[in-house]
Symmetry: C3
Subunit: 674 residues, 3 copies
């Protein structure tokens, strides 16, 4: 647990002392104290500095800064510095350089720039991790290891091609099996020798990023690349653990970042950490969903908010300032949903290169008399006062939404029926409806135990992994409510269609058959017309994107299409299965339907909100040792009134006792213990 070494919500962030001289660093120490900062993530991009050539390592500068931080009561989240390889390495060993999607061998530059299959990169990244662990294994400042940085990107070089073939051999055993799962008799693709297989990129099977001729190949290449980067991480992980089994190891993830299957990664992370960079126009519920997803990666275990900006980003097209109170509000949003740290990128703004206009606790002006610093210091004080009360508190949800990276890859690699289907948006539709009703929701992977939930929602569950339908059936049979949608149950884990009628293996539990799938143009819609009122559902709603033309085969038809040649065919069905029910939503509905539908389903399951929903006011609850901490967060730019009902609580921030009707200020946060 993070709480062992520093029993409070960690507060700090990325710090790059190597870019500054001593007087500046001294000033930083002073200001960290002012701000209540107690953790600095250092050494993220110092590989070139620490290792000037193949045989030489200089860590004296690092000793010095770690000691200085520690002397100033600041702990260290110690990065391994392998997020960007040195220029000398790129020159001497070009195998560290990637070949990009266009088939171009890259040169030195940027970051996220190392080939995951590079022998050189693997050797020297492991070696420096080993050296760092050995050197600092007993240093009391070091709280945690931060491996590399924001792993991402794919490579298509010859080493990766060879690695891909070995990965395939390990996964499938034989070339015959590869030919089978890829269906290579299509378009005459039969492979007779392993080395006929090449990575799928713009020179072979793919174009425009996510378009491919061979879904199976592209899918496996994504798995392979995700695994390869994970191997790089694991090599460092093992080197670190060899010396410091007592220290947790993490790497900073990026939410719904598409290219890596974080459920696989989380298995090898002691604690999940992630970087949260919403834009001015990101829906609050979207950020909440991603926090919940990060919490879900390790089955509800608290996570680290590793990075967020105190004020503005630099890489968005229009980098709005975070309005007054927003940084604090969004920090508590993370904590409300499971974060045990609040950390920034960055503690001090750099003077040159591409992130100099990224916000920081200490701005270019260099002193503490800024709005941003004042807000940071205010939060720092609050977090100190909160102490360890919230640490390791858990979130309890009775509703879960399934999220699966491989499913997303498959859905978005699909050629047909529509380019308009975006997996994350469909998932978010369901999440958003629950969020707006103050229903706590878990985001879970396909390995998660379903039995602890009352309702499991799997939007666009296109790819069915082996055994998963059996688990869904057991869940429903035991009384659970399962909800899935159009374009589900279509393929197996190799993107091979399950024959015998959509939704494939799910037909049994759903009691329907989807005969055809119509794709609507962006300006087209159909309607969901209720056969009769059911709970909050009545009349008709709008739907679009895809429309499955389904037949009920045992399921009850709750609503039918309102127009087109399939007018009158079912669009919403529910099937009784054992003690439970399985719903099918055959098209992508509007928000009004979503809330009425999920509201009614939750009501049937007696799942209720702790307090009544108020527009723009978010809630989330963590629990620990019998105490409940209800976070109430007013995202509005104006006051809001909430009604606590029977709750008598103490706000952990203000220490006020609260009950009844409460007026909240714009952007105000309450942490109600009750």
């Amino acid at each position: 647990m993070l709480s062992d070494k520093l029993p409070k919500i960690w507060y700090g962030g990325d710090y790059n002392p190597e870019q500054w001289d001593k007087p500046v660093m001294d000033e930083d120490m002073r200001m960290f104290q002012l701000a209540g900062i107690d953790v600095a993530t250092i050494n993220v991009f110092s590989w070139a500095l620490s290792q000037p050539d193949e045989d030489t390592y200089h860590f004296e500068w690092l000793d010095e800064i770690i000691n200085k931080l520690y002397d100033n009561n600041t702990y260290v989240c110690l990065a391994t510095s392998t997020g960007a390889h040195p220029a000398w390495m790129a020159k001497k060993y070009p195998d560290v350089l990637r070949v990009d999607f266009e088939g171009r061998k890259r040169k030195f530059g940027g970051r996220h720039n190392s080939c995951p299959s590079s022998p050189t990169y693997r050797k020297y990244s492991t070696l420096i991790a080993d050296k760092l662990a050995e050197r600092y294994k007993d240093h009391p400042a070091v709280l945690i290891w931060h491996v590399s940085n924001e792993y991402g990107g794919y490579c298509y070089c010859d080493n990766c091609a060879e690695g891909f073939r070995q990965w395939l051999q390990a996964r499938y055993g034989s070339l015959e099996q590869v030919n089978r799962v890829w269906n290579t008799r299509f378009w005459g693709h039969t492979f007779y020798e392993w080395d006929e297989i090449v990575p799928p990129n713009a020179l072979s099977e793919e174009w425009a990023g996510d378009r491919t001729n061979f879904q199976g190949i592209s899918l496996d290449y994504r798995r392979f690349q995700s695994d390869s980067l994970l191997e790089c991480y694991r090599l460092e992980y093992d080197a670190l653990k060899k010396h410091t089994p007592h220290l947790p190891v993490t790497t900073n993830l990026m939410g719904t970042y598409k290219e890596l299957d974080y459920f696989q990664w989380a298995k090898y992370m002691d604690v999940v950490s992630w970087d949260n960079y919403p834009s001015l126009d990101t829906p609050y519920s979207y950020t909440a969903m991603v926090h919940d997803l990060m919490r879900g990666l390790k089955d509800g275990q608290p996570f680290m908010l590793m990075e967020q900006t105190p004020s503005q980003q630099n890489w968005q097209p229009y980098n709005s300032l975070k309005r007054p109170g927003v940084m604090k509000l969004w920090s508590y949003q993370a904590v409300a949903r499971g974060a045990d740290t609040v950390m920034f990128f960055q503690l001090r703004r750099s003077v040159g290169a591409c992130e100099k206009y990224h916000g920081a606790v200490i701005e270019h002006v260099g002193h503490e008399h800024t709005r941003v610093f004042r807000e940071c210091a205010e939060l720092g004080g609050e977090l100190q006062r909160l102490g360890d009360s919230l640490l390791d508190a858990r979130v309890h949800s009775r509703v879960a939404i399934v999220y699966d990276w491989e499913n997303r890859w498959a859905v978005e690699l699909s050629s047909g029926p529509t380019v308009g289907l975006k997996y994350v948006d469909e998932v978010h539709k369901y999440y958003d409806a629950l969020y707006k009703m103050n229903i706590q929701t878990d985001m879970i992977g396909v390995d998660a135990d379903l039995s602890k939930y009352d309702i499991v929602i799997a939007p666009v569950l296109y790819m069915i992994k082996p055994g998963y339908v059996k688990r869904i059936e057991e869940f429903v049979n035991a009384g659970g409510t399962f909800i899935t949608t159009f374009f589900s149950g279509i393929v197996n884990e190799s993107d091979i269609v399950t024959l015998g009628g959509y939704p494939g293996e799910l037909r049994n539990v759903l009691g329907i058959w989807a005969e055809e799938i119509d794709a609507l143009f962006p300006d087209q819609t159909n309607q969901i017309v209720m056969n009769e009122s059911w709970g909050a559902l009545e009349g008709s709603y709008t739907c679009g994107t895809l429309c499955d033309l389904i037949h009920a085969e045992g399921a009850e038809v709750k609503a039918v299409y309102g127009s087109d040649f399939y007018k009158g065919m079912p669009v919403l069905t529910v099937n009784s299965f054992g003690q439970g029910q399985a719903w099918y939503v055959a098209s992508s509905p509007d928000a009004a339907f979503m809330q009425s539908f999920l509201g009614t389903v939750c009501k049937e399951k007696q799942i209720t909100a702790p307090i009544a929903p108020v527009p723009g006011v978010e809630i989330s609850q963590r629990e620990k040792d019998g105490s409940r901490y209800l976070f109430v967060m007013n995202h509005n730019s104006c006051e809001a009134q909430i009604e606590l009902g029977e709750i008598l609580a103490v706000d952990q921030i203000s220490s006020r006792e609260l009950s009844g009707i409460i007026e909240m200020k714009a952007k105000e946060v309450l942490v109600l213990a009750y």
Copy 2:
């Protein structure tokens, strides 16, 4: 004639048995019978399967399926399988791989992937065609050869560079002449040695696909690439004909596909075949125009509808289902315009890779109880009942529209005056007006005999081939009506401007001089103001895109521009020339003008519609042995009323006798014999 072996409209489509096991194939045989399917196109993508290495060929699987089909009363359209080379070939002989427009050597993947100049590809594609022809030359199942598949795409490799130089040498004789026709003194491009010439792509003369510095080079490269792929086709053609002079040979074309000059190709095809993939929003008249163009490729000879989808495509952005009745309606549209076959891609949906969401007669559910199958079977029954009555029937038109691939290349390669000019759209404007008036039209190339037409329309006849103006003049002189437009007569076949005033060689027959050409912004228009009413033309109309500033030099001015500094200058002129008339339309008019103008011109020529036009109801007539077959097709989603006038007819589908006013159901088709 296709009718020799199977005297009915062929019905079937692409079938990939190599992707399936025996029980599935057995079920397919049963379902083909149910659907009235009698032709299967097989072996399209089986090269890798049949030839696992350089020296080994396995055709046993093919023997088996051909026999099985034949035993089940299904004939075979036998493909040569060279539409995608094997992976082992790409590895062993990289010369089969293309270099793309960006100058990148491709790797194995996709299809349409072989370099047309590759010695390896030419050798082995010819060899397998030879082997197939030898093996199946006497098999009674085989009706026709289907060479490769949807030829297309260009290559820019060194073999192509060398091939280009040889092609130039053959065409022009000397480098001096090449320098002359390309006008290489412009921008200092004089070539002194053949190997200084390189293919025009993103590394040399072109960018963004159709933009070029040197129109002459780019034009000749398109000719060369079209010819090179044609040579590949011809090598297989000759190999096939050597063994089976009695079997027709075709390859499936793609309508207005830009990159290949199909008029050149058709010379070497025994029968034209093509793949028809309209979208939900493709104008019906556009599809009709392309059918007519395919018919025109071999001077009116019936063609094969080789591919269409029974339900939906997979590669469009939004793949709508074909609404009930549409598949049948569009099948008859093809027949109405000259098709003697109705064939699908595909008979059974594959389970994996990029075409698994492409519609098929047999869907993933695998049984016959689907809407799509029922519609296919219904059509199958109708086609069986129609027997051979329509086979080889011809379409007779008195109006022709000129379509020329090389002209299109030149127009769209032009740097200036506008990027807004799309050749096919301008051609379609004229076609659409005639279509909407029920005037039967031929689409002809520049080699076609003009004397059989009353009216010849050549929209944007920018490039004038040697001798063509003489033939136009003879046509007009003999009483014909010729219509051409702005941006015509400008260049010769090398894109070299004909000096002495636009429209160059056409000035004489048109009696005008175009002094300047103004390009309008997309939101700008001018007006066509009639000097006085003429037929249906009166008042004013809108025009745009380009405005030629013309002077009448003998021609009569029918209308003038309504605004801008050239207000009052002629925009519509007609010149009397011998017994005929030559019209010039100096800008791109709106649809209202088009119908009034062409309606009046047709009326003057006593060209009338068989029945009165009804919006959304298409007609086309084929004739044979003194019988006329008038196809009447209601594209509307509602009923339509047509008036047969004096026609007493028997509908060949329903066998009803019809006369007077007829109510047609939505999507209904009549084939009226009279």
Copy 3:
């Protein structure tokens, strides 16, 4: 001075006799006379013609045409022909070919195609310049040298990489210093050997053209490439001057062309020349601004209008014709702002390749009976009548706007705060306001002497060069009015932030501190609310793009923001500094603010317009030998009325005496001497 050899406004343009045979050339001579043309620019693209191989040169054709022109009273602007290398050279010495931004080695094609670091290009371009100068040094036809053509484009080849390292070594002395100014400790970029540095392109640090990870590297590469092309120019310059010290040397620039720092180039040009290609929708004030910028390159010295089209371009998307009178109007606009020549591209339209639809004095029809020729000849006559009266006349401005290429690079390379900030547009906003008020303005570089101006405006002066703030302070201290804006004073010449608070070095003179910078979405705005009326400024105005959150530190607050959380913070301030004032405009205002603000500032300085502004009527004044020549240009398509006030003048075109109220025809030009 240009006037020495041909004492009138030179009239003519690009002429490519090498593309034509003798009879055509003879006809050209006749038509040049008709049009009053007296200068032909020749030999621009004849390198391949003159030098057919490495050792052979043929200039006989050039002798012939120069003599023929001279015999027909036409002088020669003699190009060195190095704007496009020969194909044989590209084949034999591939080092002349560039590597493009995508990292692709180019092949022969296009123009602007030579690598600036190529030893071959440098050797042979210098050699042919030398040979030309030696051959024609005494020819009386030759008035001026025209080196290469429209230099531009960057290269990223290995020779450039090596050249870049040497350039860096020369600029910075040591690798340590390079690491420092690029801030390479960011993202672990420390370089230990020179050859670890690679050019910043799509393979290393940049993407999408102007996006970069390392601003310092990208900035220096732009400097290096601009310098390298300049070196190529200077090699030719020196070769020419060796033989013909008496002849001026120029190369044709392209206005605000981004990639070359023309202030550096102008130092090595005897006279500035440029090519002016506005579109139909280019604001007249934009063209005026660019003329003024070209005049500013050499501190007010008259320049050459080297190219413009008589009628239409070919390379724009929609190439509108210049309306009647527009060519003449825009020609005088150039003269009004400092041009001493009026020259066209091109005198005769070519018949083939990509510029055949570019307008010319002699069109494809080949005779003089065209609107375009008539307008050219009319202007030719007028210029002959004007004689030498205007030659070398100067423009006197009391207002200057600062324009800096390096600043533009830095602003547009910046990652954050917004992609919406376009340097040229911000500069044009200020220029346009002055233009609309008939206030004559100079466009100056950062090396210009400020003391001769009353008002100096430096929009978005993001990059502060060493010593520049001191010069601004001296200017203000001495009574000048300085105006700058948001996002100014931020970085030094290496794009390294000046610490201690924005706007850095400018804080002192401006008396403000900018604490934060908010970026607005394109559809967001804020307001400029005046604290009280000041001159023409009252009430409120709209602003956007960026909003600096500033604090007055001595400056007077004239206006505050009207909304958002920084409502009430200053947005317009003025600081008294010595005898002068320094303004800060903290956001990007609307046009209404601009005119009221600058109008009031000018009024305070007693800067007035010669005549009252009339919408669409442009004025500019040149002065010489005590005479003032006020150009009045009616851009409107209708008549306009101007009021001369106390001016009694003679129109130099019509010789009319004018005073009081004058009616001007659409597109009419007056050149009023008074």
